[in-house]
């Protein structure tokens, strides 16, 4: 469980640092490995990741590198096979939350101080965004997933609903700033329509904080999935997914059977590190 961080950043005009190619590729290597595992992982697992293959709670050893879990499934195979599911959940959520966030942020930001019904609606949406953020994400997620059922599409939908308001707020703040810039007036005078104006000038200049925050949204999506799995509304068992694996293994970990929760937790942490590396590479954010 986590939350996205509302980072007030420096203006976009700051110079992008040029990087030496060596450093750049190093930050991308972990992400490339994760991606590779997601693609080939399910093909190379030593055991079926969704079947009982041995006695439960076996210690890590030669037969089962990461041991077996409380049902007798192979933890190594499951951890590897889960990479694809988790990456899918994270990426779809990130794209959906960011796209919707940018759109809503733009509309709200451009119309908020208008008089008339449009302005009224925009102000209402703005306040609603505040409210959604104020409610605990995990509770909203619980309600939505309890309603839609726990499948990958419904999970990503619920996570997007939870995570987009912050993206929208980031964009809105930036739109409010951009709106007063002189180049917009110049474009208006030169005859651009309002739509062209938004597409050509406002969008590129105000969407960057949401893009920069995207790696964090990715991490939050996976960690929230884990939290929901911990509370019993994860994907259908025995679908391999790190969050529910950690959740199922956690009670045993307190009494010394640490392996079935530890390995997926490490995989999760490494993946979030890898993705935040990509984020830094793309947006020069250290």
């Amino acid at each position: 469980m986590t939350l996205t961080v509302d980072i007030p950043s420096a203006p976009p005009s700051r110079p992008r640092r040029t990087r030496r190619p060596g450093v750049a590729s190093v930050t991308l290597v972990p992400a490339a490995i994760v991606l590779l595992l997601a693609v080939i992982g399910p093909l190379v697992v030593p055991y079926s990741p969704v079947d009982v293959v041995d006695r439960p709670d076996l210690l890590p050893g030669a037969a089962h590198w990461f041991g077996t879990d409380s049902a007798g499934m192979d933890v190594f195979s499951r951890t590897l096979a889960a990479t694809r599911n988790n990456l899918l959940i994270g990426l779809i959520t990130t794209v959906a939350a960011t796209a919707v966030g940018i759109l809503v942020g733009l509309l709200v930001g451009m119309n908020e101080s208008r008089r008339g019904p449009l302005g009224f609606v925009a102000r209402g949406v703005s306040r609603a965004l505040d409210l959604v953020q104020a409610l605990p994400a995990i509770v909203i997620g619980l309600v939505l997933i309890a309603f839609f059922g726990a499948t990958i599409p419904s999970l990503t939908l619920a996570l997007s609903v939870i995570l987009f308001p912050n993206q929208a707020r980031l964009v809105r703040t930036e739109v409010l700033r951009v709106r007063g810039e002189a180049y917009l007036d110049a474009a208006r005078i030169s005859g651009d329509s309002e739509t062209t104006l938004i597409r050509k000038h406002v969008l590129p200049n105000s969407s960057w904080p949401a893009l920069e925050n995207a790696s964090l949204v990715f991490g939050s999506a996976i960690v929230l999935t884990a939290g929901l799995g911990f509370l019993g509304v994860g994907l259908h068992p025995p679908t391999p997914e790190w969050g529910s694996m950690i959740a199922i293994g956690a009670p045993g970990a307190a009494s010394g059977r640490w392996w079935s929760a530890l390995f997926p937790a490490v995989a999760l942490a490494l993946t979030v590190f890898a993705v935040s590396g990509v984020g830094r590479r793309l947006f020069g954010d250290d």
Binding site: P136, V139, V143, A254
Partner: protein, 348 residues
């Protein structure tokens, strides 16, 4: 009179619209809670044998019969009269539950936030001033992936290491030893109450029980503060104002204070967000350490389709946030009159 209105109207209008917002929010809550599947009567009966007539009677007694709008009306009337109802399952008053859980949760969150901010300021300065230091590098990279390690992983690991193996922490069962009596209730904040009744045994037990959950919350959430603070410090360090101070020969301490003052506001905003999160969302830490709070209450309500409790929870948390937003708005408007509504905004 009109002068008085024009000077104060902006916040009075804002205050007057607050109940309207809350009422709209109540409508949203009503429909949101309708979404949770599960049948309260099924939970209530524990699946015991029931004839269709008994089933209908039980539904009626829960106010679940009649049209949706009838139910909505009844709910809104109750809300306006501050009657949040009783839990479907246990029959306890929702308002009373909130009254006892909210201060307990807030107290834990305050403890975690105080420690977190000390940690954030300390580590932030360390990283910015000694970037090549080994500790600094470790801190910087951990904070960069802020939130990568879920709080419940840290919680389980903490319990395993400090309770099961090392025995440094007492059993993670509640706020204080099971055999101690609760403090007499004066403020509702357990530690303060123990303090008021000068109950040293209880206070000692509370400190022994709370250091680990507070530590878990700090390790899980302080990195976000650290990350932000490092960044703001960096910006402040490189700003013109710093160069001016150094150029004009200010002491090192003066320069530091100046940098910190300019770096803090953004961190303070973040502080608010995390604090709000801890009040409603620290479910897992609450569960692991058996310190039942607001978050756990909401989760229980969802899993048992206790719609009355869930509505009450959402209303209280929503009202609290609306109030906080209002105060924040008023404070910013006081500081910066241009933000007040009615003041023409360029392009508006």
């Amino acid at each position: 009179m009109s002068a008085l209105w024009s000077r104060n109207g902006w916040w009075v209008r804002r205050l007057a619209i607050l109940p309207v917002h809350l009422l709209l929010f109540a409508v949203v809550v009503f429909f949101l809670v309708k979404l949770i599947p599960g049948d309260p009567v099924a939970v209530l009966s524990g699946g015991q044998r029931m004839t269709p007539e008994q089933y209908e009677a039980a539904r009626a007694s829960l106010g679940l019969t009649g049209t949706v709008f009838g139910q909505l009306g009844a709910f809104l009337v109750n809300t306006v009269t501050l009657d949040l109802g009783n839990s479907v399952l246990t029959g306890t008053s929702v308002l009373a539950e909130m009254g006892s859980r909210l201060p307990e949760t807030v107290e834990l969150a305050v403890m975690a936030m105080v420690v977190s901010s000390l940690v954030a300021v300390g580590l932030g300065f360390l990283v910015v001033l000694r970037p090549r230091n080994l500790v600094s590098r470790a801190v910087a990279s951990y904070s960069r992936a802020a939130g990568a390690v879920p709080d419940f992983c840290l919680g389980v690991a903490g319990i395993f290491v400090f309770y099961s193996v090392l025995h440094w922490a007492p059993a993670p069962i509640g706020r204080y030893d099971t055999l101690l009596n609760p403090p007499p209730r004066t403020t509702g904040f357990p530690f303060l109450d123990a303090l008021f009744s000068s109950d040293t045994a209880l206070m000692g037990s509370m400190l022994a029980h709370l250091w680990l959950p507070v530590g878990v919350l700090v390790v899980a959430y302080a990195p976000m503060l650290v990350k932000l603070f490092i960044r703001s410090l960096d910006q402040a360090k490189n700003a013109q104002a710093t160069k001016f101070r150094i150029a004009s020969g200010a002491s090192r301490r003066m320069v530091m204070v100046s940098i910190a003052r300019r770096a803090l506001p953004a961190t303070v905003a973040m502080f608010g967000t995390i604090f709000g999160f801890m009040v409603g969302g620290a479910v897992v830490v609450e569960q692991l350490f058996a310190i039942p709070g607001m978050g756990e209450y909401a989760v229980q309500a969802v899993t048992r389709s206790d719609f009355v409790s869930l509505r009450g929870f959402l209303l209280i948390v929503g009202a609290l946030s609306l109030l906080v937003f209002f105060l924040v708005d008023v404070v910013t408007m006081l500081l910066d009159p241009r933000r007040r509504p009615g003041v023409a905004v360029a392009g508006g």
